[in-house]
């Protein structure tokens, strides 16, 4: 069992989930992050943020070596423990209900199967739920053969176990030990229901059916992937991560299922990512469409237009999975933070910043959806028209930019370019749909934006577009100018920008998002390499025709995934390990985008 303070590496976790919430399971067989009933609700198992904030561990009692993999193209995790006396395999999943089954299912279930495959192994179980981010220490009630119920909680939570458990009142947990011999199987099931009588799923043969159904569901989903290009495994794993974080109840795609995993150990950049960023939308939609998942793309766009309708015409930077706009930031001082990284935050204060680039990303998303055969209704056209007028009014304002800086607003070059993208796409959409816009006037605004960027956002001295007007700092977001069609990949100014970024933002072979020692983001503290920027570089190189260079970079980056193919927000510039909130949708969609660019040479 983990000792207090003994935090695993971020990359030691793997993700399981049921498209409504997700759990992180360590390579020591411990569920250490699970929020219920939805992704952004309070945690029940939160040991990733504080060793006393709840876990559900199943692992050999003594020393072991571990190997992990997902079962083929699924989100069912297999952890194999090799001990001196034998080998045991732990299979973990969150059960997906079979809608054709007349049986009742709990609202959420974590199903765990242990099988001894050779020799014999003594297994130890420790179950210590701590609801409300560890603020509640619950009691346990044995309910006969139904299992153990959590008492004193506003929800119903049951643990069924084929390993006998007993209550350790001093540590407020259930523990158990059992020795498994070759061929023996044991099941454990954690079931959660909110507001209603609990549904207690049976173990044994019926649990095997639920595991088989869930595995089959993920396999069927993966089989729908139409991508046949290179690096298919990495692309498919990224798609599976996205699907797992694609809310089945709203269609939204979460940025990451965690909060406050630090961007640098001991640094102040600990943010809550359990929301949906408009910024990610173009890449997410692109990923779904490119891989043949049109249903997911439609559901996501529907959510996007519904959520943004609530703040229309002004779009918010991020929304929760149901489109909720108030995401006030709070700190949880009772939690130690991951390896002591304080503060632990919930909510995100960046939600009401002015970040002009999101308009461009949203319009690009809609344009891509339409070019893939989608249509817009009258209300959506009116909404986009209003947004266009809004951008035409706002684009001259300074903003916080793509990196959500916490300093005074600046005239960010990338934000201006994305305003150009927004107006350009609206002009295109107005050709096909009844939108009350003056296309000529929009064209003039586009010209004005471009003229300003070329005059003030390009620094002739360094031969590159720069982060903000009049500055000299490189900014990796500018790698996307070619992807969004602001300029051609082969344009000398774009090539100069790539060279400048690659030279000045290079640290140990990684591209940083901006200089982290100049107070660029308002926080003068070192950080690690923002993983998506590095995939953007690979994508740029592919689009610019530097295929071999792009391929080498892409392959090098893929090697920094953890053992089950997951990426965090950042890559440690020294360690090469995943750092920050984990896994991160933005990194995985950037991987898909780079892979498809490599496959097709040029991203459409």
């Amino acid at each position: 069992m983990d000792a207090p303070g003994d935090f695993p590496e971020v990359g030691d976790y793997a993700l399981i989930g049921d498209c409504r919430t997700a759990a992180l399971v360590s390579n020591r067989g411990s569920v250490e992050w699970l929020c219920l009933p939805n992704f952004a609700d309070a945690s029940l198992f939160g040991a990733i943020l504080d060793r006393g904030a709840g876990h559900f561990a199943v692992a050999p009692a003594g020393d072991f070596k571990v190997k992990r993999a997902y079962v083929e193209a699924t989100n069912v995790l297999e952890t194999t423990f090799e001990t001196p006396t034998g080998v045991v395999r732990l299979t973990d999943c969150m059960v997906l209900p079979d809608e054709s089954d007349p049986e009742l299912y709990p609202q959420h279930e974590i199903l765990r199967r242990l099988e001894c495959t050779s020799g014999e192994v003594e297994i130890e179980v420790s179950y210590a739920p701590r609801p409300d981010y560890g603020r509640i220490t619950p009691a346990f009630r044995k309910r006969g053969k139904l299992g153990w119920q959590l008492a004193g909680c506003p929800f119903g939570a049951f643990l069924g176990s084929e390993i006998a458990l007993e209550e350790d009142r001093r540590q407020a947990r259930l523990t158990g030990r059992a020795t498994l011999k070759r061929g023996e199987v044991r099941w454990l099931s954690f079931a959660y229901d909110e507001h209603e009588a609990s549904v207690v799923p049976p173990l044994g043969g019926e649990a095997a059916e639920r595991l088989a159904w869930t595995t089959g569901w993920w396999k069927d989903w993966s089989a729908r992937c139409s991508y046949e290009g290179p690096y298919r495994d990495a692309v498919l794993r990224s798609a599976l991560v996205l699907k797992l974080m694609n809310s089945a109840t709203s269609g939204a795609v979460l940025a990451a299922p965690t909060t406050s995993l630090p961007e640098v150990q001991g640094g102040p950049r600990n943010w809550d990512y359990r929301f949906c960023w408009i910024r990610d939308s173009a890449l997410v939609l692109h990923a779904f469409l490119r891989l043949g998942y049109t249903e997911e793309a439609e559901g996501f766009l529907e959510w996007l237009l519904h959520a943004t309708r609530l703040t229309w015409q002004r779009f918010q930077v991020m929304y929760d999975i149901y489109g909720e706009v108030k995401l006030d930031e709070r700190e949880l001082p009772h939690l130690s933070g991951y390896r002591g990284a304080k503060p632990v935050r919930i909510g995100n204060a960046a939600h009401d910043q002015l970040q002009l680039d999101i308009y461009g990303e949203l319009m690009e998303t809609v344009a891509r959806y339409v070019s893939a055969g989608g249509t817009l209704d009258k209300l959506e056209c009116a909404m986009l028209t209003g947004a266009g007028h809004h951008v035409a009014k706002l684009w001259r304002l300074p903003d916080q930019g793509i990196w959500e800086t916490r300093r005074e607003p600046q005239q960010h070059t990338f934000s201006k370019a994305m305003c150009w993208v927004a107006l350009d796409r609206i002009r295109g959409l107005a050709e096909r749909f009844p939108m009350r816009v003056d296309r000529a006037a929009l064209g003039r605004e586009c010209d004005a934006i471009r003229a300003e960027i070329e005059e003030r956002g390009f620094n002739a001295k360094v031969g590159s577009y720069v982060g903000y007007y009049g500055g000299e700092d490189a900014d990796a977001s500018l790698l996307l100018l070619a992807r969004y069609g602001y300029c051609e990949p082969g344009d000398p100014r774009m090539e100069g920008t790539y060279r400048y970024i690659a030279k000045t933002l290079n640290r140990n072979g990684f591209i940083m998002r901006y200089p982290d020692d100049t107070g660029y983001d308002g926080i003068s503290a070192p950080e690690n390499a923002f993983a998506p920027c590095n995939f953007w570089a690979a994508e740029y190189l592919a689009n610019a025709g530097h295929r071999q260079e792009a391929q080498a970079l892409f392959e090098r980056l893929c090697a920094f995934a953890n053992d089950v193919g997951l990426f965090a927000e950042e890559i440690g510039t020294r360690s090469g390990k995943p750092v920050g909130n984990f896994p991160q949708a933005f990194t995985h969609v950037s991987l898909i985008s780079a892979a498809t660019a490599l496959y097709q040479r040029k991203t459409a």
Binding site: L104, R143, G144, P201
Partner: protein, 163 residues
């Protein structure tokens, strides 16, 4: 003791209102995390294992049950020969207590999807039984159930009249 047409109409109207008030308190208690006792859900799952259908079906039967009990209350008032909110309140509280002490504990024997603590969950039977006073669904369940039923009785006692 046969109600007149006007009395039937009153029973139906105020039976509906009392059921709505009862449901409001029970639903509120669920949402606030005081109790997980949902009578519509328990009723609906008798007929189907599909959650949303169970909710809809259960609510329908619950409403019909609310009307039926409004007639029962009327006949009790008529047999006593008087009405009044105090009497209704008392009757409602007794109604809630009977539900908790006698009816809900019997449910594992009657409900086709309810599991028992003696046999554990099996195919077809996965629903947690309510236990004594339905305490398995939260320790405030007896309180919220009796308050909700007392309000149901109070409304009927106050509004039903005997000719």
């Amino acid at each position: 003791m046969t109600p007149t047409a006007a009395e039937i109409m009153t029973i139906l109207v105020w039976g509906f209102a009392a059921t709505a008030a009862l449901s409001g308190i029970m639903f509120g208690a669920q949402r606030l995390g005081y109790s997980r006792l949902s009578l519509p859900f328990l009723i609906g799952t008798i007929f189907t294992g599909e959650r949303s259908s169970a909710h809809a079906l259960g609510l329908l039967f619950y409403l019909l049950g609310g009307w039926l009990f409004a007639f029962v209350y009327y006949f009790i008032f008529a047999s006593i020969g008087r009405t009044g909110w105090e009497l209704g309140l008392l009757l409602g509280a007794v109604h809630g207590a009977v539900l908790l002490v006698m009816l809900l504990p019997l449910l594992p024997h009657l409900h086709p999807r309810m599991a028992s603590e003696y046999e554990g969950p099996v195919r077809g039977r996965r629903l947690q039984p309510p236990g004594f006073l339905a305490l398995n669904y939260g320790y405030r369940t007896p309180l919220t159930t009796i308050v909700a039923h007392a309000l149901y009785g109070l409304i009927l006692g106050a509004r039903l009249t005997l000719t």
